[in-house]
């Protein structure tokens, strides 16, 4: 039997008898080596198993005894580490190694040490089986032991119990799975809402065709009725009630015109809902976007309006982002459009776009010196069909609702800060990269 300790002694033996200093150094080295060895072999937290060249166990330390439940005498000179390893894993490892290294490797001890025998550093995960048949995951590091000439005289397998880490990994996997499930549920719910909105808006439109159609038919009848009434009165020479006829005619006309204008309005709202639903179904195409350039082209589209209201717009250097271009164009053109639309009369407009950057997110700010938004409206303005302040500008109350829906789908947030008669800042915070990896999603 040979092991590391013998080798050390042999080598030290060679240097014996030179001089006292050398001997003293050698003795110190020996002491050190023995202290190190004893520390390793008595460690209760590492299982150290040394074998001979054929794999038969020669050393089985305290840690190995503790982890595996055998006493050293029960295994020494009797079995190999393959006998205390999961046999299926040993077979699988032999197959994988045969394939990887292109040489047949027998499922057994050879599979556990083959790489080490070729001088390849080898650390692998393996299931050890205790004396009582219970099992535990281990991480095993294998080193070949060589004599002075480099010939293999055995192997050292140092193992640690991997149970705790495996549990953490399993917990993490469970969490990830739950997150994936929830994300899937959420997107399913979202799709259902989209489908719902789509179907409902179509079905709502159908009766509108009738209301509008028959109101128009009634309107046509109205004209004929009053013409005939007039003609009849003329025939019988009754001119007295002409005035009350006129009142009746204008009442009917008013009623029909309210019906028609309301139907037209409802049709516009349904149309807006439909567009939102369609937009919500669009698949995002993430790409790297030069935001300064995107904002500048948004500005070009607004240049005319901005000039009309004497507004200066400045766009700072903005960090790039990986996101959906069309969605961001819609979000920012909406914010810029609002900024230009709701300036104060007689005050030169000043609109500014800038950005701040953190680890994973960028906040883009669109700041204006316009009329501002009353505190009680700051949530409402993000609701569909809701608007704020004096209704002296065209609009349907869709833009900000749409912007918020898009920003949310892109994993971001949109907020407003405002002071009436001073100005408004819209802050859009977006992840630097979309889509987010599962681990970063917020539920």
């Amino acid at each position: 039997m040979t092991n590391g300790r013998d080798e050390t002694r042999t080598r030290i033996g060679v240097s014996e008898g030179t001089d006292n200093t050398a001997r003293k150094q050698a003795e110190e080295a020996l002491l050190k080596a023995e202290a190190l060895q004893s520390a390793i072999f008595n460690s209760a937290n590492f299982s150290s198993i040394a074998t001979d060249a054929k794999g038969v166990i020669q050393i089985f330390n305290v840690g190995a005894e503790r982890m595996l439940g055998y006493t050293a005498t029960e295994v020494m000179n009797k079995i190999t580490p393959a006998d205390i390893s999961d046999p299926q894993e040993v077979v699988a490892r032999a197959e994988a190694l045969s394939l990887e290294l292109g040489t047949p490797i027998t499922p057994g001890f050879e599979a556990l040490v083959f790489k080490a025998s070729r001088g390849i550093e080898d650390i692998y995960e393996l299931t050890y089986i205790r004396k009582d048949g219970s099992r535990f995951p281990a991480v095993v590091s294998v080193t070949a032991l060589r004599d002075a000439k480099g010939a293999i005289i055995g192997y050292l397998l140092i193992g640690t119990d991997n149970t705790a880490r495996k549990q953490v990994e399993a917990e993490q996997e469970k969490l990830d799975q739950r997150l994936r499930d929830q994300t899937a549920l959420l997107s399913e719910a979202n799709e259902e809402i989209q489908r719902f909105v789509y179907i409902v808006s179509h079905d709502l439109r159908s009766p509108l065709v009738n209301i509008m159609g028959f109101a128009s038919e009634l309107d046509a009848c109205r004209k004929q009725i009053f013409e005939r009434l007039g003609a009849l009165r003329a025939q019988v020479g009754d001119e007295q009630d002409g005035e009350s006829d006129e009142a009746l005619r204008s009442d009917v006309e008013e009623a029909l015109s309210f019906i028609k204008s309301s139907v037209a309005k409802m049709d516009r709202l349904i149309g807006a809902l439909l567009r939102l639903a369609r937009e919500g179904q669009r698949q995002f195409q993430p790409q790297l976007i030069d935001m300064s350039q995107l904002l500048r082209s948004t500005l070009e589209a607004l240049a005319h309006q901005a000039q009309d209201v004497d507004a200066k717009i400045s766009i700072g250097e903005l960090p790039t982002i990986t996101s959906d271009r069309l969605a961001l164009e819609q979000v920012f053109s909406n914010l810029m459009d609002n900024a230009v639309k709701y300036l104060r009369a007689g005050v030169p407009g000043s609109i500014e776009v800038r950005a701040t950057e953190s680890d994973r997110a960028i906040t883009y700010e669109v700041r204006d010196n316009g009329r501002g938004i009353d505190a009680r409206d700051r949530e409402r303005i993000f609701d569909l069909f809701r608007r704020s302040g004096i209704q002296d500008r065209p609009g349907a109350g869709i833009g900000l609702a749409h912007a918020r829906a898009l920003v949310r789908r892109l994993g971001g947030t949109i907020n407003v800060e405002s002071e009436p008669d001073r100005g408004t800042v819209f802050k859009v915070t977006l992840p630097k990269r979309w889509p987010l990896p599962v681990s970063e999603m917020v539920t």
Binding site: V209, M212, G213
Partner: protein
């Protein structure tokens, strides 16, 4: 002399049917109109009791098709018409509230002749039906074989 065209109007909404008929008449279309109020009734009328479609082979029929039917999608009726050896020659006009681009494309891909959206604006609605009237006038009736 070819036989006059009969219009098979597949339309579940009574009001729409009435408005379409009124406007067709105003446009000078006096052909016979048969209203079919749901998908099943339409299938029975078009494909006959044996479902083969042979009873309407060579008939001068124009199918006016709404897509949103209570019991099936008009698209299914369109597909079955265009897959049927006796009926695939029948002209089909899709007349519906849906203005979704992909839906329109799907109908053309399946072989519909004209796709008309029913607008809420009545003037546009009347115009659309007038266009349809023109189509009825110029329509080529499949020759009886």
């Amino acid at each position: 002399m070819t036989q006059p065209v009969t219009i098979a109007m597949v339309e579940d909404d009574e009001g729409h049917a009435r408005l379409i008929e009124k406007n067709l008449r105003r446009a000078g279309v006096h052909n016979k109109i048969v209203q079919l109020k749901d998908g099943a009734t339409a299938i029975r009328f078009l494909f006959g009791s044996d479902g083969s479609g042979i009873t309407n082979k060579g008939c001068a029929l124009l199918v006016l098709l709404d897509l949103n039917l209570p019991d099936m999608s008009g698209i299914d009726i369109l597909r079955r018409l265009k897959e049927n050896e006796h009926l695939r020659v029948l002209p089909v006009v899709v007349l519906t509230t849906t203005d979704d681009k992909s839906e329109i494309q799907r109908c053309y891909d399946l072989g519909c002749n004209v796709y008309i959206t029913k607008p809420v604006d009545y003037e546009k609605f009347a115009n659309a039906i007038q266009q349809l009237g023109l189509f009825v006038f110029v329509m080529k009736v499949p020759e009886a074989m």
